[in-house]
């Protein structure tokens, strides 16, 4: 055996790509988990088709998973891969354009047969025509090597053995980046606890892939990516949807109100339903409704009954919930509505990310029906946003809308865990029980919240509904002045939530040339871009909105301190419309709707242009 070289790298982006049935999501997320355990900072980006199994070997069937892992602090899954692992010709075709010259390309040659080449639209094999010469190509018969490594494993068909090619490939990448195998072995052992022959097969294939590189002449260099310095504490890797579910549960425990979660399955929001269904021992009731209208109305019914009603969907389902959200505004009950956004309009591109539902969140109801809006900025931030949404809903007795997106929902990053129960804010709850002088719409002087009364409270029998109501008694009222008053007070109540919205902190110079303003899931890309520009000597600063209604109190004043305001959004310009209308600022948009997150360089080059 030759001695191999070991090189140290600061940061690496690796992408696994293959057919939907090739298990790319599994190996990608396992690679990410191991990077987390090793102590790298990381961000992941799964990118998969909406079809569960599009025809095998075709371009639409290609599924990918990108992991950015680093010895430094990072904020995005990376613009482009340094290493690309492809399991078939279609995956090569779809992804090769992203791999820079000299990038590492690992290819399963077994999949490059005539049929697969044809399905991917290759006239001749790119492995043989020299068209991959600019890459560091490792052409390896992954499938047959995986099969061979499992020769002695009993109880598996040849087909099942060959399926372990993805784990074999994972083993190879573990060798390449000097990763330990034990974490993944532990995971595989748990995952297949009931099928010992699969435990044996997967762990053997993993080790075989590792050993293959170790022995192969072709692999002369391996790399290490040292741990990233991070603040002391406990961490785990978390996806946005998981974090959101945990945030809701945490708020439920803190408030003492059990969750009622009404939802109808939809990509990419369903995992929140599935996660919460695991937490019944927290008193959570999950209700898989017949449609999104039933999902939201059942949640309103639950809030009326004194639970915390929560509902989630994606754009099409939120459209269906519109009328009921108006009802919640009118009857003023706590409620949390979550929109895990995806590319629209209509069914759009279900598995692709976008931020194009902000204006729907702001205005997507009949009548003047203001709703507070929060937006998470990273996968782990979904925890805090979920928690905060419940807190505000209860404190102000009001429906609250949360915006996440497919990128946050499925992406993962290290999350610094709250240490103690006391680290989480308290959520005081007050149910009104005193019949003396009770009026259903008499408000708290400060928050303008109306009393929250549970049915079953003696002496407080009263009626609420979607018809306009008298400002105190809540009885139906068609009085013109009363309608004006109630419309104003519903708006004022939302505006007063600003007392619970922290002031924005500017990253970079407090005033200067270019201010980049973002919201939601673009935080990481914008932050990386602004840092890069600043290190190049450009006066660029960043603010990022997690509160979109009401805006933080100091937003207008900050906007006024910069010569240029750039607003990158994954839509055709929605926040910018709100900023222009509200602050009369001549902001400049950077807009993209390709179903993909921003690349850092796209934002960098726009900042460079503006500061030139």
């Amino acid at each position: 055996m030759t001695t191999k070289q070991l090189k140290s790298l600061d940061t690496v982006v690796i992408r696994f790509a293959g057919d939907s049935g090739d298990g790319m999501q599994i190996v990608g997320s396992e690679f990410g988990n191991t990077a987390a355990i090793v102590g790298n900072d990381l961000a992941t980006f799964p990118d998969f088709p909406a079809e569960i199994r599009a025809p095998a070997g075709t371009l639409p069937g290609v599924s990918g998973f990108q992991v950015h892992f680093s010895a430094n602090e990072i904020f995005t899954p990376g613009d482009q891969p340094d290493v690309l692992v492809v399991m078939n010709p279609a995956a090569l075709k779809v992804n090769r354009g992203d791999l820079p010259d000299n990038g590492i390309l690992i290819v399963d040659t077994d999949a490059f047969d005539a049929r697969n080449l044809k399905k991917a639209g290759y006239e001749q094999s790119p492995l043989e025509d020299g068209s991959l010469a600019q890459f560091r190509l490792f052409a390896v018969p992954l499938t047959s090597l995986a099969e061979k490594s499992l020769r002695d494993v009993e109880g598996l068909t040849t087909k099942e053995k060959r399926r372990n090619k993805n784990i074999f490939a994972l083993g190879m990448t573990y060798w390449l980046f000097s990763r330990p195998l034990d974490n993944t072995i532990k995971w595989l052992t748990q995952k297949y606890a009931k099928k010992p022959q699969h435990v044996e097969a997967t762990t053997t294939a993993l080790r075989a892939g590792y050993a293959y590189c170790d022995a192969s002449e072709a692999f002369q260099v391996r790399y290490e990516v040292p741990p990233a310095p991070s603040q002391p504490g406990l961490y785990k890797s978390i996806q946005g949807n998981e974090a959101l579910a945990l945030g809701l549960v945490a708020a439920s425990v803190k408030s003492g109100l059990p969750i009622f979660y009404g939802s109808y399955p939809i990509t990419p929001a369903s995992p929140v339903l599935e996660a919460l269904a695991q937490y019944k021992n927290f008193g959570v009731i999950t209700f898989q409704a017949e449609d999104e209208i039933a999902a939201v109305t059942s949640a309103i019914g639950a809030s009326f009954g004194g639970r915390i009603g929560i509902t989630a969907s994606s754009g099409p389902g939120i459209a269906l919930k519109g009328e009921a959200m108006g009802l919640a505004v009118m009857v003023e009950l706590p409620l949390v509505i979550i929109n895990v956004q995806r590319a629209g309009p209509s069914t759009g591109m279900p598995t692709k990310t976008e931020q194009s539902d902000l204006l729907q969140a702001m205005f997507g109801r009949n009548g003047d029906a203001p709703i507070p809006i929060l937006a998470a900025r990273s996968p782990s931030d979904c925890f805090e946003i979920g928690f905060e949404a419940v807190r505000i809903a209860i404190k102000y007795v009001v429906p609250v809308l949360v915006l996440s997106d497919g990128y946050l929902a499925n992406g993962a990053e290290p999350w610094k865990l709250p240490h103690k129960f006391e680290d989480l804010p308290d959520i005081p709850v007050h149910f009104h029980t005193d019949p003396k002088g009770f009026e259903p719409y008499r408000r708290d002087d400060v928050t303008l919240a109306r009393p929250w009364v549970k049915p079953g409270t003696p002496g407080l029998e009263h009626r609420i509904g979607g018809l306009e109501k008298d400002r105190l008694t809540g009885n139906v009222s068609y009085d013109t002045a009363n309608h004006q008053h109630m419309t104003d007070v519903r708006a004022e109540k939302v505006a007063r939530i600003v007392a619970d919205v922290p002031d924005l902190e500017v990253f970079g110079d407090e005033s200067g040339e270019v201010l980049v303003v973002g919201w939601g899931g673009t935080y990481g890309a914008i932050h990386s871009a602004v840092r890069r520009c600043r290190s190049d000597g450009i006066s660029a600063s960043q603010i990022h909105l997690r509160h979109l209604n009401p805006f933080p109190a100091n937003l207008g004043e900050i906007l006024g301190r910069f010569k240029k305001v750039l607003v990158p959004e994954l839509n055709t310009g929605q926040l910018i419309l709100l900023l222009r209308a509200r602050f009369l600022v001549d902001a400049i948009g950077l807009n993209k709707v390709e179903g993909q997150p921003f690349k850092v360089r796209e934002i960098v080059s726009r900042i460079q242009e503006l500061s030139a």
């Binding site: 988990n33 987390a36 355990i37 102590g39 974490n183 603040q231 002391p232 504490g233 406990l234 961490y235 785990k236 890797s237 945990l246 549960v249 425990v253 009622f260 937490y279 019944k280 021992n281 927290f282 008193g283 959570v284 009731i285 209700f287 409704a289 017949e290 039933a294 109305t297 059942s298 949640a299 309103i300 019914g301 639950a302 009326f304 009954g305 004194g306 009328e323 009921a324 009802l327 009857v331 865990l417 709250p418 103690k420 129960f421 549970k454 049915p455 079953g456 409270t457 003696p458 002496g459 407080l460 029998e461 009263h462 009626r463 609420i464 509904g465 979607g466 018809l467 009885n475 139906v476």
Partner: protein, 339 residues
């Protein structure tokens, strides 16, 4: 389960709210309201434990007029909202009131699913075969050929039969009653209240403004006896003046026969059985063609209610995993420490 009342005995008056009733004078809803208030007084449930949820329509104004908790929601969605409430608060007696349009048109989907899930809510579908509140368009229960403002040449779609639909939707308790049959209506409500799972009661109602006399065959005193078949558990299906007519099975088809002298003996008649699925459906299809309109309970079936099953899962989860421990949950999984 609803708790028995400790306080003083309630009367109808206790359930009259301070809101002025705004239905048209002579509307069948008045009689229904009065029967509901009477029946509620007899339930033995304190006012604060009763909730009425409604959608939109004339009938759906109901909650405003009954002095208990009430929620006038949005068109068609009352069964869904009530589901969330009942699952969250099984201790409450939850009633849903709405019209034929509200429940069978825009809300048809929610009705179907609330019934099949066996949520313990009592649904009163007030059927006047018309959209009252929007001023008289035909509804999903209007007969073919209904001429109204939106159907000047007559409606062309076949109506839905609410009872057949409720039976097919697996409702636990399915009954029909009539706005002006006060005692029958009250008795039906009391039985409905005592039922554990989902309840569907169709109340035939007269909208005298837009669809007057649509059920006159049932309500006219002169013809009532010949046109109404009172369903009673374990009793033969007799109707007509002095019970001179009955329903007999001919093969799989029901037929009207004369009973007694010159007719068939009572022993040949069908006997009502509330547990019999097929019989319930057969009875629900009897309409016109010389058949009487069946009134009463078509079917009852006992299954565990949705809210009880949901609560049981929470208990089971707690037994298996222990009461949820937040910090343990947050700190579970692949956690690492940065010193």
């Amino acid at each position: 389960m609803t708790t028995a009342m400790d306080g003083p005995k309630l009367t109808k008056k206790d359930f009259v709210s301070d809101q002025q009733v705004r239905w048209c004078p002579g509307c069948g809803d008045y009689a229904i309201l009065s029967s509901v208030q009477h029946a509620f007084a007899k339930l033995g449930i304190p006012r604060h434990k009763i909730v009425i949820i409604s959608g939109i329509g004339c009938a759906a104004r109901f909650p405003y007029y009954v002095d208990c908790f009430g929620f006038h929601t949005i068109h068609g969605r009352a069964p869904a909202l009530a589901t969330g409430l009942k699952v969250s608060r099984p201790d409450l007696s939850v009633w849903v009131v709405g019209g034929d349009g509200d429940m069978l048109s825009i809300g048809g989907n929610h009705l179907l699913h609330a019934l099949r899930r066996n949520v313990g809510i009592k649904i009163l579908c007030i059927n006047n075969r018309i959209y009252g509140l929007t001023k008289g368009q035909y509804s999903p229960t209007s007969p073919v050929g209904t001429v109204k403002k939106s159907t000047p040449m007559g409606s062309i779609d076949r109506p839905v039969n609410p009872i057949s639909l409720a039976l097919a939707a697996e409702a636990g308790f399915v009954a029909r009653t009539v706005d002006v049959f006060g005692p029958h209506l009250q008795e039906t409500l009391l039985r409905a209240a005592a039922h554990e799972g989902s309840v569907f009661v169709e109340v035939l109602q007269n909208c005298l403004i837009f669809n007057d006399a649509t059920f006159s065959n049932v309500t006219d005193r002169a013809s009532r006896e010949d046109n109404v078949l009172y369903l009673e558990h374990q009793k033969p299906l007799l109707f007509g003046a002095g019970g001179d007519k009955g329903i007999r099975l001919n093969g799989l088809k029901p037929e009207v026969v004369r009973v007694g002298e010159g007719g068939v003996p009572e022993s040949e008649l069908l006997v009502h059985d509330e547990k019999d699925e097929s019989l319930a459906y057969l009875l629900s299809r009897m309409e016109g063609d010389g058949f009487p309109t069946p009134i009463g309970t078509f079917r009852t079936q006992e299954h565990v209610s949705y809210e009880a099953a949901a609560a049981q899962q929470v208990r089971t989860a707690r037994e298996q995993k222990g009461e949820g421990d937040l910090m343990k949950l947050i700190h579970s999984g692949d956690v690492w420490t940065v010193p």
